[in-house]
Structures are given as structure tokens and as C-alpha cells.
């Protein structure tokens, strides 16, 4: 009887708690990486290699996929939009702009036309009440749309990040680097700072996890300014033949915090709110791993020295050809 009771309790525990556990641990995030079946069909647009396809009038349309999981390589691609969720896209001017759901393929994807140069901020906002907790998830994709053929106008205006506290209650921001421009990429070894905002205000002691492609992860807590800093690791172990300086390596940031706040959502009361935000981006190998200033400057100096010697000899020959003739004889 006791054993049976324990088994029933365990089963009930798994049925009730596991969705919370799964949802709390596995999160939704936007992916620039296409599913395996689409890898040959999807092209890349711009310097930051955004997944894209040709749209109307030949304009490139940026595609992003929605995934569920903590693992960048093995997270599942969602096939439909989650219930109680809203997808919002802000263009580089901060205005809400049109998106379209691609319903033709089995994997859910969002299409938008990247006409403007600058950062597009794509959000998925999902809210649901389970037990006495309101779960709020904000999955964010901050994608820099830039192609050099469009020039480099208003870079200093478009680089700083935008926040939308009235629409997005909880989100992760990446602090910009000094003199960051459209050609900037996070590199291995860079110390990147992220800030977590709740209703536009920094959150103290929010849990932040960073997970890379090779499943390396680190967990930190935000300071009073809502910030954490993390040095990007060199998360690849390819042989020199496989090394490519332009290869982008993805990482996922998951931030979460709990607050005590009572309310009602869609007729369901709650006493706590659990916020989760996700943010995805990519980084490149560090420049010093494949390029050398020393070799560069030495090459220049050698060319200068050799050229000066050749010119000197040429001029001396022209001035005193007899001397040179005599030297040969």
C-alpha cells in the first residue's frame, strides 16, 4: 500500500511539475540557423550572414526560426506558434513593423524584409498561468541588417540599442562596444556585457546563463546595475584546414527572475511572476588567431627597403654608367 501510494505520488508529481520544470529549464529562442532540411535552400544576406530568401521584387527576406531547448545544436524547431504568444518586430527606427509567418514549411519561421540598415529587434512574448505563477517569456533576436552596397549612413544613430518597456516587460540587452559600427563582430576573447531589464529598469540578482554551441555554459547573477560581463571563449576546436575566420559561432543567453506580484491573467489568478528572457547572437574567431600585424609591417618595410635599394642602384647607373661598365669589366 505504501509502495503504491509512493508510486502514485511520483506519477502525479511528474505530470504536474514536469511541464513547469521543462518550461522553466527549456526555453524558446530565435535561431538564425536553419533546420538541416533547409540548409541548402537558405542563402545568407549581408555582412552578418542573416538567413534569407528571395522575396517579392527580388528583395531579400530575413528568416528566423523559433526553437525550444537549452542546447543550440539539438533544440527542436517549433512547427506552430505557441498559444498565448505574440510576435513583434521593431525596425531600426524603433517602429513596429510587419512580419509574416511562413506556414508552408513544417518548421515555423518568421519572414521580414530587411530594407533598412541597422538592428531589427524580433520578440516572441508568451504568457501563461500555471498553478499560482504567471510565466512570462520574452525571446529576443537582435539582428544587424547591413550590406556594404547600401553604404554606411547614420551608423552612430543606429548602433545604440533600443528598449520597448511598454511592450516587452523583460529583456536582455547587449552593451555596445566603444566605436562599434556595422562591421563589428563579437570575437573570442572579447568581454561582452549584458544587461537585464524588467519593465525598463535594471534587475539585481537575476540569474543569467550563457550556453555555447559546444554546450559550454556559465551561470552568473546580475549586479545592482542589472549587468553581467563574460569573456567569450574560443568555442571551436577545428583543425587548421577547417578554420575559417568568417565562421560564426552561436550562443544563447537565458535570463530569469521571480517577483511576488498578484494579479489575474485571462481569468486565472496568480501570486508570483516568473520572467524568462532569451537572447541569441554569434561571435567569430579573434583576429589575432589568424592575422599578424608584425608580418604585415615587416612586409611593408622589406618592400620599402628593397625598392629604395633598386632605385638607388638605378640612379647611380644612370649618373655614372662608365663606373658600372668598368665594374663589370
Amino acid at each position: 500500500m505504501k509502495v503504491l501510494f509512493c508510486r502514485i505520488t511520483l506519477i502525479v508529481f511528474i505530470i504536474i511539475i514536469s511541464p513547469v520544470y521543462i518550461f522553466g529549464q527549456n526555453v524558446l529562442w530565435w535561431s538564425n540557423i536553419p533546420p538541416q532540411s533547409k540548409k541548402n535552400k537558405v542563402i545568407t544576406y549581408g555582412m552578418h550572414k542573416l538567413s534569407s530568401m528571395r522575396g517579392e521584387k527580388g528583395k531579400s527576406q530575413i528568416i528566423q526560426w523559433l526553437r525550444n531547448g537549452n542546447n543550440i545544436n539539438h533544440s527542436i524547431f517549433l512547427s506552430q506558434q505557441p498559444e498565448n504568444s505574440e510576435i513583434i518586430l521593431f525596425d531600426p527606427d524603433g517602429k513596429e513593423t510587419e512580419i509574416s509567418l511562413n506556414t508552408r514549411d513544417k518548421d515555423l519561421s518568421i519572414l521580414y524584409t530587411g530594407e533598412m540598415e541597422g538592428f531589427y529587434n524580433l520578440y516572441l512574448l508568451n504568457q501563461s498561468v500555471r498553478n499560482d505563477t504567471l510565466f512570462v517569456l520574452a525571446a529576443k533576436a537582435e539582428r544587424l541588417c547591413h550590406s556594404c552596397r547600401n553604404g554606411h549612413k547614420e551608423v552612430h544613430i543606429k548602433i545604440p540599442y533600443e528598449t520597448y518597456p511598454e511592450r516587452i516587460p523583460f529583456e536582455i540587452l547587449r552593451e555596445r562596444f566603444f566605436q562599434e559600427d556595422f562591421h563589428f563582430f563579437i570575437s573570442s576573447g572579447d568581454e561582452v556585457t549584458f544587461q537585464v531589464l524588467l519593465n525598463g529598469q535594471p534587475v539585481d540578482h537575476a540569474e543569467v546563463r550563457m550556453i555555447t554551441e559546444k554546450d559550454w555554459s556559465v551561470k552568473k547573477y546580475t549586479d545592482k546595475n542589472g549587468q553581467i560581463s563574460q569573456e567569450m571563449i574560443g568555442d571551436f576546436f577545428s583543425r587548421i584546414k577547417e578554420f575559417h575566420k568568417d565562421e560564426l559561432h552561436n550562443f544563447l543567453i537565458i535570463a530569469s527572475c521571480n517577483i511576488t506580484s498578484a494579479g489575474v491573467f485571462q481569468g486565472k489568478p496568480y501570486e508570483y511572476i516568473h520572467y524568462t528572457a532569451t537572447y541569441t547572437d554569434s561571435y567569430k574567431p579573434a583576429v589575432y588567431q589568424y592575422s599578424s600585424f608584425v608580418y604585415g609591417i615587416f612586409s611593408v618595410l622589406i618592400v620599402v627597403a628593397v625598392s629604395l635599394v633598386i632605385i638607388k642602384i638605378y640612379r647611380n647607373r644612370k649618373e655614372d654608367p662608365k663606373f658600372w661598365r668598368g665594374a663589370h669589366e
Binding site: 549612413k153 583576429v287 625598392s307
Partner: protein, 347 residues
């Protein structure tokens, strides 16, 4: 109006040019700090690798716009390319090839290197006729390569495999502007050799070689790189549309060859050509040094939208010639005599 015209014709255009060059150098190199932006079709080497630049050299925009499939080029992408080219032409035609002589920062650097050489008392070099004729085609070769290589990266040309994407913007990889101009902002990041792939090694090495050749070449040969510059070749294709023109009256020319002797590039056709009115050649940078040193009245004229703004005059020639050598002209027994400062003081 006559007084103003006389003042302009007697003025020292070279000094004016030096001042204009300094001002535009500061604007182009550092204007980005004041959030000044021009456009992506600037007809000079306003290099975007220099972080504080005010605009983007048209060559890099062109290479990126041509980095597309033929299908894209003959569709909406082609419109982008044509729009860019049209805007470039609009910018260019205002002052024609004077962009090179007065505004280009890379040209200004070469002029400064020339002044350093003069200060050391080292004589400069000139190309002989044969070298001049054969070397002048290099700029067109560069121009053709920077058009076809980006196309070749997205398309298979003549059955060849597509070129590696590591070439990037091919001319920019080898252009000395990319390495030299950022140095004026304390940025040495463009001096490197990249070992990430064979293509990167080759392209970055070529860039370093051309940088070295640029420094030495500019030291010994005035405006060395301008002779090889594909921007100069591209500009020449549209120079006949320019609002600013350099005209020659062949009948007034006495073939003294002052103009070709003073020309930094060494264009002999300015003196030799007596048949054509529009005298701007593909290597010309419209610095108007030739007009300054021409002693014949109205032989060479600089015209802007049909108005003559500067012309060669006998009076202007002697005033500039005497001023530079601290000489004074006077008459003795009805004869015109040149005196130096000491002689004129003793008198």
C-alpha cells in the same frame, strides 16, 4: 569684374590648392567625429576603413553591388547599381577631375610626401615616353578586375569556378588607402597579413606590397599612385560631362612645354596637343598647375558652366614666376630687366 578676374588670374593657385587640400583632408578624415556624412558614392578615396570618414569611396560600394548573381544584376539589384553609378556621376561632374587634384586624401598625402622629398633636396623621377604609354593602362586593368572579380565571386565566368569569397572587395584588399588613411587616426589594424586561407594570404600580402610601393613611389615620383588609380580611369569615362573644364586654344600655344614640365603626372599631351579644345586626359587631376605656368594670354582656360574662372595670362605668369624667386621687374633704357631683392634694394 575685370579687377576680380585679374586678381584671380594673377593669384597663386598652388597655394590656394594646398589650403583646400588641407581643409578637405581634415573634413574627410575626421568629419565622422562631428557626425558629418556625405554618401556612399564619393569620387575620392574616402575610405570606410577609416572610422571617422565622412563618406564611402564609390569603388567599395561598386564592388559590393557587383558581388551578385547575373540574375540579381539584371533585376532590382541592377537598379541599385545604376542608382549608385548615377549618383556618383552627379557628384563627379560638378568639379570634374578636380576631385583628384584638390580633394582626394590619398593624393594630398602623396603631395606631402613630395614636399618631404623636396625638403631633403632629392630630385624626383619622371617616366619616359615609352614607360608612360605602357604603365598608363594599369589603371584600366585595375578597373576591369574590380568589376569582374566581384561578379566572378557570385557567378561562374567563362566556365571558371567561382572565385573565393575571401577576396572580398578585391581592390580594397590591395589599395594603399586602406592601410595608410587609418594611420592618421592612430589605427594600425589594417596593416596585417591574414593567414586564415591561401586567398587571404595572397590578398593581404599584395596589400602590404602595394603599401610599400606607394610610400617609396610617392617619394620619388610625384603623384605616383594617381597614375595607377582605377578611380581616375573611371572618372575619365565621364569627364566630358563635367561642368568644370580645362580648355586649350591650340593656335595660341607656342609649345614652350612649361605645362608638361610642371605637370606632376608628366602628361606631355597638354603641350603636344594643339587640335583639341578639351585638354583633360585620363591621368589629369585638374590641379591647374599648367594654367599657372602658361605664359600665353588665354591659351589655357578653366571654365565652369561656360564661365571662365581662371586663365593663363602673361602678367599672371610673370607675377607668379617673380614672386617665387623674389625677383622684381623694372625697365632700364627701355628694356625690361629682372632684378633680385638685393639689387633692387641697392638701387
Amino acid at each position: 569684374m575685370n579687377k576680380l578676374s585679374r586678381m584671380v588670374n594673377n593669384s597663386n593657385v598652388s597655394r590656394f590648392r594646398s589650403i583646400v587640400q588641407i581643409l578637405f583632408f581634415i573634413l574627410i578624415m575626421y568629419g565622422g567625429y562631428l557626425a558629418i556624412e556625405i554618401d556612399k558614392v564619393v569620387p575620392v578615396f574616402s575610405c570606410p576603413y577609416n572610422k571617422a570618414t565622412v563618406g564611402t569611396c564609390y569603388l567599395i560600394s561598386m564592388q559590393h553591388q557587383l558581388h551578385t548573381t547575373f540574375l540579381g544584376l539584371f533585376s532590382w539589384m541592377g537598379l541599385t547599381f545604376l542608382t549608385g553609378l548615377f549618383t556618383f556621376i552627379l557628384f563627379f561632374v560638378v568639379i570634374n577631375k578636380s576631385w583628384c587634384g584638390y580633394i582626394c586624401p590619398l593624393g594630398t598625402i602623396q603631395d606631402w610626401i613630395t614636399k618631404i622629398r623636396s625638403a631633403f633636396g632629392i630630385r624626383y623621377s619622371r617616366y619616359d615616353k615609352k614607360s608612360f604609354k605602357s604603365l598608363k593602362w594599369i589603371k584600366y586593368l585595375f578597373l576591369v578586375l574590380l568589376i569582374f572579380i566581384p561578379l566572378g565571386m557570385s557567378n561562374s565566368l567563362f566556365g571558371l569556378p567561382k572565385f573565393s569569397h575571401d577576396i572580398g572587395a578585391p581592390f580594397c584588399q590591395v589599395c594603399p588607402g586602406r592601410t595608410v588613411l587609418p594611420l592618421f587616426n592612430g589605427d594600425t589594424s589594417q596593416i596585417f597579413i591574414s593567414f586564415s586561407s591561401i586567398t587571404s594570404i595572397i590578398m593581404s600580402s599584395l596589400g602590404m606590397i602595394l603599401t610599400g610601393l606607394f610610400l617609396v613611389g610617392s617619394f620619388y615620383k610625384k603623384r605616383f599612385f594617381c597614375f595607377l588609380c582605377p578611380m581616375s580611369g573611371l572618372q575619365y569615362l565621364f569627364s566630358r560631362l563635367g561642368l568644370l573644364r580645362l580648355n586649350k586654344a591650340g593656335t595660341l600655344c607656342t609649345k614652350c612645354e612649361n605645362c608638361s614640365r610642371v605637370c606632376d603626372i608628366g602628361i606631355e599631351a597638354i603641350a603636344a596637343d594643339l587640335d583639341h579644345k578639351f585638354i583633360v586626359k585620363d591621368d589629369c587631376m585638374m590641379c591647374f598647375k599648367c594654367v599657372e605656368v602658361c605664359p600665353e594670354d588665354e591659351c589655357l582656360k578653366v571654365r565652369f558652366i561656360g564661365l571662365t574662372i581662371f586663365k593663363s595670362t602673361n602678367e599672371g605668369f610673370f607675377k607668379r614666376y617673380l614672386g617665387r624667386r623674389n625677383l622684381k621687374i623694372t625697365k632700364e633704357d627701355g628694356k625690361t630687366v629682372l632684378l633680385n631683392e638685393k639689387q633692387s634694394e641697392s638701387e
